[in-house]
């Protein structure tokens, strides 16, 4: 199979799916907090690059979280 999306996209979407129940901005904050606490910097960078490239298929909550992370 050919890579079409980085694995970080799938992982970030999974995190968002499990934290989206949090109210308001708390969800994005929690996603950002989780990624900041558990992800190696290069993984975060790959996610940032993917967001900059259009974030195709990425949960909007992840995009919001990336803004907070940056």
């Amino acid at each position: 199979m050919t890579a079409t999306v980085p694995p970080e996209s799938r992982m970030a979407n999974d995190i968002a799916a499990n934290l989206r129940h949090l109210p308001g901005e708390q969800a994005a904050e929690a996603i950002a907090g989780h990624i900041g606490r558990f992800w190696d910097p290069r993984m975060r960078n790959r996610l940032y690059v993917f967001v900059d490239a259009g974030a195709d298929g990425l949960d909007p909550l992840v995009v919001a979280a990336v803004k907070l992370l940056r």
């Binding site: 199979m1 050919t2 890579a3 079409t4 999306v5 980085p6 694995p7 970080e8 799938r10 992982m11 999974d14 995190i15 799916a17 499990n18 989206r20 129940h21 949090l22 989780h34 606490r37 558990f38 992800w39 190696d40 910097p41 290069r42 993984m43 790959r46």
Partner: protein, 938 residues
């Protein structure tokens, strides 16, 4: 050291506050009420002759050798079945009882082969001992009468023989099989003179229900049940007490040797985890340690297609250091890392993570616990404040309702399962939550009140539905919640929503709503409700959520902080708990403290020197992704076979092939070694000196039974690699490593080899507040202060059944094999499980034209393998099951990249598959269509 003989008090202890005082042969002794005369005598220092009694079994009173006289009582009662009464005066040596005992022994010996000098048990035979004790001088009946001396020997079991000619029909083996092991495979067949021990109805031991735990062999007072190794090698002459290196139960054993040759492993009665019991793996399957497949010399090669070249240690260590540093020079310091092993000692794991952090200069260290219990660490830390189970194993004896979720203790953790089964036989109720009908659901004298046979991947929906019942039916322990917890109101509002009701959950889980409600009520209303769980919880996309869901349920019902309750992970490997404790995770230093914590880093920087990174490193799946991405080039794999055990093997092997340097340290050239450039031979547990920490946080000593066959300890090798990389690291003894661990880890400050040798074992936290350890956690308050309720919304997995892959595969273990089988496949255990089998429901088999024993293909969207089918209604329709013990099967060829959202623990338990009769692979089968592609990763 000599052979260690533990005292046998004849009957079990009867702990209790009330006592009685008696006199035995004029010696006063005070014992707990209910104690037998035999035990009281033993405590007074008087050994009463016995054959059918032993203190691991309830008294039976059949051999009549232990008869005594008691003032004021008629006759000669058996001391084993007679409880002490206050003021009782017992005489154990009177002419009357001596004559009776001699008569009894005469009868026994008249039907026993007189081959003591050539008998394997010579010197370790209670019948022989008792003949001497009672002063047997003649057998008036002669030896010519009817006897059992020609009874046929059963040698079918790979590890022990059954010689009925030596049997005295004391029933110790039968009782051990029932009372200690809980299998009830053995019985006394026939009556009177025809009475004989039988494994099932006319079956051999091998064909019977016997699970080869060794309890019967242990209990046998003669050579009737005898280890083949003793027959072959002779009676051992010295013992070393150490810890088993198989599952997370962490059984203590006496390794019994003759000279330097290991003859047998005998379960140690003083072992805190096992208290004298064992399973087929720990008791018998140690032959791998001396298997000819072991590699004992270091080897190197330039590329993975070159042949291996044996080298001396200096060259191997120098090669690792030079090539690792060269990668860092070209690709940056974070381009290398290591994986620690949950099979290695705490001391070995600690030095590997120290090498990564201090010598490699990054946090790219992870442990094989990533792929099993990392969600436990995350979930219990979030809710309770500590990444560990709450109880000791003994606690299960106080449980009134036991809920087993996603675990198969009789196969995966058999010695703990025996404890659990004992409690269930005493009347505790059982709830099993599992897609597969595991043995516990219905076995001799045990039947689960509820088997919630849920669809794989729906654990969270089940636990939420149970919590919904607790909240909406007023079953919450308000006093506990109000005093001990926080976040309850928000969680209760969530959990009470209709979407979490059993009626809605039924459509998701397949479990009838009324069954869910009844199970929830049973657990909530029990005086003590205990949860035990395994990888069927953690190895899911919501593994961490489920751990928190169970913690929520336990807190809501007040089932935390005392005996008989708790949330208890059954850890897979011997040192999963310890490898996590030791700072193996890329985001945590030893003691589960985050690398971003400046104060914690400072502690380690002051001790180790240099500056530690505050950013987390790569987890195992991330290492593979980064390797394919080109940013991760060098990996030290310590005692783990990632090319067999990790999911989506095509992806794993692509990552390994992409690396410039793979270093494997292991006993054998495993599957991962095929991709290695340096192979460092490891030491077996029999050669190690250190500690393991089991699933109940018990730190046990591992003592070297023999010197390392490779010439070096593993902690030495790691230290020498670090030193060769320019970071001097040396220890003169593993106890110094533990001293260092204790100096920087608050939960270990009271731990040392000296303390462990004195106390036997301790359960952490062990520090000033708890100098002898902590069997039960969160007693007065949670480690984090208040227990935290966490909202656990159910999120379906991305892995869906499709038209092309309509079945769901889930994986597990079998009793006789262990993990990837590297050890057990090199033992007699292959007699029980020579290959991995695919279990599938008769309906699923019929529609595919599959019959029992057919070779079938098992295909998912990432790979395909072939294995043999077994038709079984253990699984519901639509679900198939296999194990992953054999590399030839490669079950992980089909498992996918899906993982737990919080920890990246792989979702081994849910893979959409198709099964068909094996035939040449058709192109159309190999190419998935778009509806099969949930996420494309490679």
């Amino acid at each position: 050291m000599t052979l260690l003989k533990e005292p046998d008090f004849g009957t079990p202890e009867r702990p209790g506050p009330a006592t009685v005082s008696v006199e035995v042969d004029g010696l006063p002794v005070t014992v707990p009420e209910g104690t037998s005369v035999m035990r009281a005598a033993a405590q007074a220092g008087v050994d009463i002759p016995k054959l059918c009694a032993t203190d691991s079994l309830e008294p039976f009173g059949s051999c009549r050798l232990c008869v005594v006289e008691i003032d004021g009582r008629r006759g000669t009662p058996a001391s084993c079945t007679t409880p002490c009464a206050d003021g009782m005066k017992v005489s154990t040596q009177t002419p009357k009882v001596e004559k009776l005992r001699q008569g009894v022994m005469e009868l026994y010996i008249s039907d026993h082969p007189l081959d003591c000098l050539t008998c394997p048990a010579n010197g370790d035979c209670e019948l022989q001992d008792m003949a001497g004790v009672v002063g047997l001088r003649q057998v008036r009946y002669g030896y010519e009468g009817e006897n059992h001396l020609d009874a046929e020997k059963d040698t079918s079991n790979p590890y022990f023989d059954f010689d009925p000619s030596k049997c005295i029909a004391c029933s110790r083996c039968v009782r051990a099989c029932g009372e200690v092991q809980g299998t009830f495979a053995l019985t006394i067949e026939g009556r009177g003179f025809d009475s004989k021990v039988s494994a099932g109805a006319g079956e051999t031991f091998m064909d019977s229900e016997c699970v080869s735990c060794g309890a019967c062999v242990q209990a046998c007072p003669t050579s009737t049940l005898q280890e083949k190794s003793v027959v072959e090698l002779g009676m051992p002459t010295r013992s070393v007490v150490t810890t088993c290196a198989y599952c997370g139960v962490g059984c203590s054993f006496k390794a019994e040797l003759r000279g330097d040759e290991l003859v047998r492993m005998v379960p140690y009665k003083d072992g805190g985890a096992n208290e004298g019991h064992s399973c087929v793996k720990g008791r018998f399957a140690f032959g791998y340690a001396t298997h000819p497949d072991r590699v004992l010399k270091p080897m190197v090669r330039d590329t993975i297609t070159d042949p291996w070249r044996e080298v001396e240690w200096d060259e191997a260590i120098g090669t690792v250091a030079r090539r690792m540093r060269a990668i860092q020079d070209r690709h940056g310091s974070s381009a290398i890392g290591a994986i620690t092993s949950s099979r290695c000692t705490n001391e070995e794991v600690y030095v590997v993570q120290k090498m990564v952090r201090a010598a490699f200069g990054n946090n790219n260290v992870d442990t094989c616990a990533r792929v099993c219990h990392s969600p436990t660490g995350y979930g219990l830390k979030q809710t309770f404040g500590e990444s560990a189970g709450t109880q000791d194993f003994r606690s299960v004896a106080e449980a009134d309702v036991i809920m087993v979720i996603g675990a198969n203790p009789t196969d995966g953790h058999p010695v703990f399962a025996s404890r659990m089964k004992r409690r269930l036989r005493e009347g505790a109720k059982l709830i099993v939550v599992d897609p597969r009908r595991i043995d516990l659901v219905r076995s001799p004298h045990i039947e689960a009140q509820h088997h919630l046979q849920l669809r794989p991947s729906t654990n969270v929906a089940v636990v939420n539905a149970m919590a919904h019942v607790v909240v909406t039916e007023g079953l919450v322990d308000r006093s506990f919640v109000d005093q001990r917890c926080e976040g309850f109101d928000e969680w209760a509002e969530f959990i009470a929503r209709p979407e979490n009701s059993p009626e809605v959950a039924e459509s998701i889980t397949g479990v009838p709503a009324e069954e869910l409600r009844a199970a929830a009520r049973l657990y909530a209303e029990a005086p003590n409700g205990a949860i035990y769980y395994g990888l069927g919880v953690t190895e899911h996309s919501q593994g961490s959520t489920m751990v928190m869901g169970m913690a929520n349920l336990a807190m809501a019902c007040g089932n935390i902080g005392r005996d008989g309750v708790g949330v208890n992970p059954l850890r897979g490997q011997n040192n999963v708990q310890g490898s996590c404790d030791m700072g193996s995770f890329p985001h945590e230093l030893p003691g589960y403290r985050h690398v971003s914590d400046d104060a914690v880093r400072t502690v380690f920087e002051n001790l180790w020197g240099g500056t530690l990174l505050a950013e987390p490193g790569l987890r195992i799946p991330n290492m593979f992704d980064a390797a394919i991405d080109g940013t991760f080039r060098g990996l030290f794999v310590h005692g783990e076979d990632i090319a067999q055990s990790d999911p989506n093997l095509k992806h794993v092997t692509a990552a390994l092939e992409a690396m410039e340097l793979v270093v494997v340290q292991d006993l054998f050239l495993n599957e991962t070694a095929k991709f290695a450039h340096v192979f460092l031979p490891g030491a077996s547990f029999l050669e190690k000196d250190g500690t393991f920490t089991n699933a109940e946080r018990r730190i046990n000593r591992v003592r070297a039974v023999m010197k390392p066959k490779t010439g070096k300890h593993e902690w030495q090798i790691v230290s020498e690699i670090a030193t060769a990389m320019g970071y001097p690291m040396s220890y003169d003894h593993p106890s110094r490593i533990m001293d260092e661990i204790a100096s920087v880890t608050p939960t270990f400050t009271g731990v040392s080899f000296e303390v462990l040798d004195k106390l036997g074992s301790v359960q952490w936290p062990c520090n000033e507040s708890a100098p002898e350890g902590t069997p039960i956690m969160h007693v007065d308050e949670f480690v984090r202060g208040k227990g935290k309720f966490v909202v656990t919304a159910f999120v379906p997995t991305n892995e869906r059944s499709t038209r092309r892959f309509p079945l769901v595969l889930t994986t597990g273990r079998i009793l006789s094999q262990y993990n990837v089988g590297a050890q057990t496949r090199r033992t007699g255990n292959v007699a029980w499980h020579p290959e991995d089998i695919l279990e599938l429901h008769p309906h699923d088999a019929e529609v595919r034209g599959i019959t029992d024993g057919d070779l079938v293909t098992l295909a998912s969207r990432v790979g395909q393998t072939t294995l043999r089918a077994e038709i079984s209604d253990r699984m519901p329709t639509g679900v198939v099951y296999t194990t992953f013990h054999h590399p030839v099967t490669g079950a992980n060829v089909v498992t996918t990249e899906n993982s737990d959202w919080a920890t990246n623990c792989p979702e081994y338990k849910v893979t959409a598959v198709q099964v068909g009769l094996a035939r040449p692979l058709q192109q159309a089968d190999a190419e998935p269509t778009s509806d099969d592609l949930v996420t494309v990763v490679d």
